[in-house]
Symmetry: C2
Subunit: 475 residues, 2 copies
């Protein structure tokens, strides 16, 4: 392991280290290890150097040197990405650029409803700062305690708040980006409207660090809801869930702030393995976790959710529903949803998908995909849940009950292809919110319209002709 | 005039005409005139040929031929643009490509809340089709009776609905684009979430036809509000208007669907010249046209607007307010706002600006800009109104009462520079919603951060290396 520094010229390492200071240039593999280790254990990159700059100026000098010397740079924020976008390759030649020390909230402007924030700020820290200013920053996802804003933007993060507030891209008004040359593109503007040329901001957002390094951003804030009601609802089918979604949209509109679908299997897994309280007395084939937020009052949110649910019962769309009786119970419902993705592990090997289709196609997708799964692995168990209101499902597959983990994982590509073929038949996306990274790069290139790939390659070549920005990712 | 065809090789004209058929290849200058005439009379381009293709296939063949022969193409939709983006230059060498025959609404999907629509559909036609399907398409602007969706997207149109629903970019889920080569980039997807590579869609949206020709798009629909209340409010200052905006956002949040600021001068001009009914009995230095929409009921909208206004009166933020007593009166309030921009004409020459600043900076901007205006033209009359909730003002200047039109227009560039310097001091935008076109191209290039211009040029060169797509526009 210690030999890895041989892959990078020691003089070059010293030159990089001088920029950030020795303390923030990690060369010891023990210090480096946390930057190469991620939760799923899927990616095993190598590096001789992790740089932890403390200012945009330092990031700029790092990129300048990288540009001069043709050194590949892998930007990394909270290291919670699920597709390997934040990991260097196995060559040892790539330098990891950690943004975590750029962690200032530069300004909260409550009148303009904006916050200017650096890339290394932890999402939850930002949520709390907004809350303290009587505002809501609505981006919310499982990793929020450790993921950072730079990564959220670079991966155009989704999560449970997208339905009412949009994904990371829609929450971003301006960016500050260090380009591969080291030049700083300062577009930190608080403007809701600005039609002065091409939309460069949205190229950097979602580019997974392959076009430049996002160092700061202006993000939108919202009025804090005055009331929030959460309900757990049981129903017979995805069609019923879709009808409930239509009904809730019709009655609550923008006040409908979450609509999460949960299949019976992930529900049962969570009850079995997570030690949580059963949200509904009876079992149902499908469940929805629904949240309604009111800008007016707690009573108003309550009246609205009761109206939707009683109408749903009356129309026989839903079978049963429990409205959280307290904030604690509401948190418990959400906690059920949050711990749910991890409860597949005790059931053995799994193959996961992060797909989206038009909302109206969700029921047909679920039906067709189930057939595709069985054709690849008879007895495999579909574990389906996700952000139904956005058309986004985490369509995961656990091995058959008596199946063999290794044998099942051998079906990885066949299963991906079978499920993604169904996705494509609905003009859907094979990566709704997790991005492409290393995981889906080959598949993207093989299956996206050739014209899209060609245009993306043109953008990449125009912005990073030397190919030093996070190589081997996305495109 | 008839000699203009000499600028384009007649054989080439014939080849283009063959693609669309003679009937749809306009060569007669009388037939062509409407395509070269726009409302403000600012742009006087020339062309020997207007092509009116009837299918995407024909657009593709036109661009293929243009690409082979290096013929510049100027895409045009409803010809309502305010910055000359839709106009050919004076050379006569540029061919106008009208999208108006691509006017099908291909599909309305009420469950997914999407509409798939061609570039030549008139905005109002789309609004009506959505309405008939019990949905709202919220893009709304003065030219809606004649502007077309392709132009709305290419210019990232704004208007009065941006506050609650976003601009054209935010309403667009997918695009179909004919590239300069004639290849078709089909990205007509109905997905709210799709993280499969770079955001190409948002490059084409707002590019004013300089990167490709948008031929169709998937747009978002929304639940139709069940109640709508409009109020005309009088107050003493922009600070008071800002306080009212904060109050209304706090109480109504996403239900606040319009917040238009109107200065006393445009208000008085409208009363004097438009023959409209006076909205408020007394005069005020500033006015706000506010709309609150409820997804629940008419009563609910009424209660909400009454709450905001009575609180505003109680806190002495506002001086007077009239809530429209009927749909007709609400329409009259809106009509007042819609005819307002045209009432500057009888007051003599004017110099107009379409700016945005952070919402919180609106009062300071108004104060500083007034000083700048007086330093350029003592006695010049500021005519300030706009979409305050978006930080976007139409900050127009009429010549002094006894001034001379020609002398005043001689100050055009000095006035632009003085006002835009103030805009830049607030990190604002010199084109919030109208775009760059020909009008602001030189200024954009001269005053934008050089890095932004360089990146835009890279994008342009990557997508349109031969420079045949709407040359001389934007960049």
């Amino acid at each position: 392991m210690n030999d890895i520094s041989r892959d990078l010229d020691p003089t070059l390492i010293d030159r990089f280290a001088t920029i950030v200071g020795d303390r923030y240039a990690l060369r010891d593999q023990q210090d480096i290890a946390p930057y190469l280790t991620e939760r799923r254990g899927l990616w095993h990159g190598r590096t001789a150097l992790v740089l932890r700059p403390g200012s945009v100026e330092e990031v700029s000098r790092i990129m300048q040197l990288a540009s001069e010397t043709g050194t590949p740079i892998v930007p990394q924020s909270g290291n919670t990405g699920l597709v390997g976008g934040q990991m260097p390759d196995r060559s040892g030649r790539e330098v990891v650029l950690s943004l975590s020390r750029l962690n200032r909230i530069r300004e909260i402007d409550v009148l303009s409803n904006t916050v200017t924030v650096e890339a290394g700020v932890i999402l939850q820290t930002l949520q709390e700062a907004a809350d303290a200013a009587d505002r809501l920053f609505p981006l919310s996802l499982a990793a929020q305690g450790s993921c950072q804003i730079g990564g959220n933007l670079s991966s155009n993060a989704g999560g449970t708040g997208v339905l009412a507030y949009g994904n990371a891209r829609e929450l971003c008004l301006g960016v500050e980006v260090v380009l591969p040359t080291g030049e700083v593109f300062d577009d930190l503007r608080k403007l809701k409207k600005d039609n002065t040329g091409y939309d460069l901001k949205n190229l950097f957002v979602g580019a997974e660090g392959t076009l430049g390094v996002i160092t700061a951003a202006v993000l939108k804030l919202f009025p804090k809801p005055k009331g929030r009601e959460v309900a757990f609802v049981g129903m017979s089918s995805p069609e019923a869930a879709l009808s409930l979604f239509s009904l809730a949209m019709d009655r609550a509109g923008a006040a409908l702030t979450a609509f999460e679908l949960i299949g019976q299997r992930p529900y049962d897994f969570t009850l079995a393995h997570a030690g949580v309280v059963r949200p509904l007395a009876e079992d149902w084939p499908w469940y929805v976790l629904m949240q309604i937020s009111s800008g007016r009052s707690a009573e108003d949110a309550r009246a609205l959710i009761e109206e939707v649910l009683s109408e749903g019962l009356e129309q026989e769309i839903i079978g049963d529903a429990a409205i959280a009786a307290s904030i604690a119970q509401g948190d418990a419902f959400w906690s059920f949803r949050e711990v749910l993705p991890d409860q597949q592990k005790p059931e053995g090997a799994s193959i996961k998908h992060d797909i989206s289709v038009p909302v109206a196609s969700i029921p047909s997708f679920i039906e067709k995909a189930a057939g595709a799964v069985q054709s690849v692995s008879p007895g495999a168990r579909v574990v389906c849940f996700g952000h139904m209101g956005d058309g986004n499902l985490h369509y995961n597959i656990s091995r058959p009950v008596d199946g063999d983990d290794v044998a099942f994982l051998g079906l990885y590509h066949a299963m991906n292809q079978a499920v993604h073929d169904v996705v494509r038949s609905f003009h859907g996306s094979i990566s709704a919110e997790h991005g492409i990274g290393q995981l889906k790069r080959d598949e993207l290139i093989a299956t996206a319209p050739p014209m899209a790939i060609e245009l993306m390659r043109k953008v990449k070549a125009a912005f990073d002709p030397a190919g030093i920005m996070n190589p081997g990712k996305v495109i």
